[in-house]
Symmetry: C2
């Protein structure tokens, strides 16, 4: 047992997060326009699901609030399915308290003032969509009296990746921002180029598969908690 | 062989459409807003895929032009994957000539003037999306010098289902409109309530599973060709 525990520790597969509650969001949100149309985004949910699985593997009690994705729930993870940003914000608030929160979901900034009936083509031409601002789940968590001790946001950026991420960290009140450079390819691929922006500075991770990003981030979270 | 052929004919599983080329579209289209966001619709593609399979089962040479769906290609069907309405229109034109065309896809009426960069939240508030009209694939086929002899459109309606479908048949220049009453549930379910609007009148089909709608429609197409 001692040898096994040492091996586990050395290999990083020990239950380093046993007893820790971690909240994670993943996937896109869908914002309805009318009964049949919606605005979506290309988040596959794979990075978030991989992180949820890696955290559970380290013994954390993981609640995964997930937008619509076509992925199996990782072993040992409690999953809550939602569709819209508002539903995600509600599910996140319900899942508190947590020792850490990892906000990976690509949440729509805006929702559409929906129509009860399918919008028909009319002689007036193109539709006009009225947008309302969605709740900012990361900022909401940062300001919450039940703020998790470690609050991590994600940022998918196509330009000035680190600059935008550092600015986002300050503006949202997060501890870390995991900045994903998606200028080379769209979301939904198998690997990510990560810059980890913390209060101590910026780490540039070499491009690696999402499973490896997840394992590395889970170990960093275990170090911090 | 004779007994088998008679059995086939009586059971409706004979190769009644052998030698016929049939073009079918299915699924949603995705219209990009920027590199990560898009407008989608709730079409699962299941009804169109079931029809493609039923037509192939009757011996037709089936080309299925498909929007983004999570479905396997039915046996014997040639599948062409597209994302946007414009790509679908191009793929349909390329697939001609055909003896019949069954336009089941839920094609976006509008595309968005896209941004090369991810749209950022700005102090100006909500985004403004500029829309352009997409090609009308059904009307384009109806006016084509290579118009299929039998041209069938679909209509998903939440209100005044038959009235809208009959008006659509005339306006688009289609032979039949298969009107799907989606007032009771959203697209993506397992059954459909169909009204078949032809030049001879209107048939009301009882609510039935999508596989049965597909089989019934395939037999009606075989009757007509």
């Amino acid at each position: 047992a001692i040898v096994s525990a040492i091996t586990d520790r050395l290999s990083g597969s020990g239950k380093r997060l046993a007893g820790k509650r971690i909240l994670i969001t993943a996937g896109p949100t869908h914002e309805p326009i009318d009964p049949v149309r919606y605005i979506a985004n290309r988040s596959s949910g794979r990075q978030g699901y991989a992180i949820a699985g890696a955290l559970a593997h380290l013994g954390a009690e993981v609640t995964l609030v997930s937008g619509p994705v076509a992925l199996p729930t990782p072993p040992g993870v409690t999953r809550v399915d939602v569709e819209t940003a508002q539903e995600m914000a509600n599910a996140v608030a319900t899942a508190l308290p947590a020792d850490a929160a990892v906000m990976v979901a690509a949440v729509a900034d805006w929702r559409v003032e929906t129509s009860d009936q399918k919008i028909k083509k009319t002689a007036e031409g193109a539709p006009r969509l009225e947008f309302s601002e969605n709740p900012d789940i990361l900022a909401m968590l940062a300001q919450s009296p039940r703020r998790p001790a470690l609050l991590i946001g994600f940022a998918a950026e196509t330009e000035r990746v680190v600059e935008h991420a550092a600015e986002k960290r300050t503006r949202k009140g997060a501890d870390w921002i995991v900045a994903n450079d998606v200028s080379g390819d769209v979301m939904g691929g198998e690997a990510n180029s990560i810059h980890l922006v913390t209060g101590d500075g910026i780490e540039h991770w070499e491009r690696m598969p999402k499973a490896q990003v997840a394992e590395k981030l889970a170990q960093r979270i275990a170090d911090a908690l």
